[in-house]
Symmetry: C2
Subunit: 134 residues, 2 copies
């Protein structure tokens, strides 16, 4: 693989700053947040609009990449499971996958509902939910 | 971001070898395939079983990372759209996202149904479909 370096194309702007306090899933109290793309990537947002559901991919830069098994959701009473059977942020390639709902778009800034990513989390990609037409 | 280098944790083993001939979506005729993980990562598969649906993340290493807009699905008659509004493999971070169904697991090899990834595509991650319990 000759070009395997990730490009940080933007950052999350959120009131969430503490991993320990962050909700594990968006329906557990995550706040609205902004996706702030670098100006260079603004043309790549063309065609998205408020009301759209999409998938946000982030780089969970505070994760431990050498973890292979975890107690699901941190409950030590539960048996360990392989990280690929869990959504633990600790995994070899800590790519966060977030289903988002777009509230507004202002240039390279995208306002989204209920995002469980921490402030300043690097953004890697944004994809529409799968439809045959795209 | 101090550690932004992807780790190739395995490869796809598939009869698909030609990007031009590859189906764009799994329901368009993709063959069954094997996910072949490096032995080191076998413990991370613990807890997955045949019959499970999961999300596979790959690195689309033949993509053009400098493309910001495309004609959706390559139809030049359609107006260009930003790549974040499409599922084009050409995008700044060409991370492939594939919904898979696990048919069998044999050590570090996972047999899956209808995978539209090309042979030898690098594997980045495997996640369960989101459930509150994981």
């Amino acid at each position: 693989m000759t070009d395997d370096r990730l490009r940080v194309i933007g950052r999350v702007e959120s009131s969430l700053t503490d991993r320990a306090a962050a909700p594990r899933q968006p329906d557990e109290g995550a706040p609205d947040a902004w996706l702030v793309f670098d100006d260079h990537y603004a043309p790549a947002l063309d065609g998205l609009s408020p009301g759209t559901d999409a998938l946000l991919l982030t780089w969970l830069d505070r994760a431990d990449r050498d973890t292979l098994t975890v107690h699901p959701r941190g409950h030590t009473a539960r048996p360990r499971a392989g990280v690929f059977a869990t959504r633990s942020p600790d995994r070899p390639n800590p790519i966060g996958l977030h289903e988002i709902h777009i509230l507004a778009i202002a240039g390279p800034r995208v306002h989204v509902r209920n995002l469980e990513a921490l402030n300043a989390t690097p953004i890697l990609d944004l994809k529409p939910l799968l439809t045959p037409d795209r």
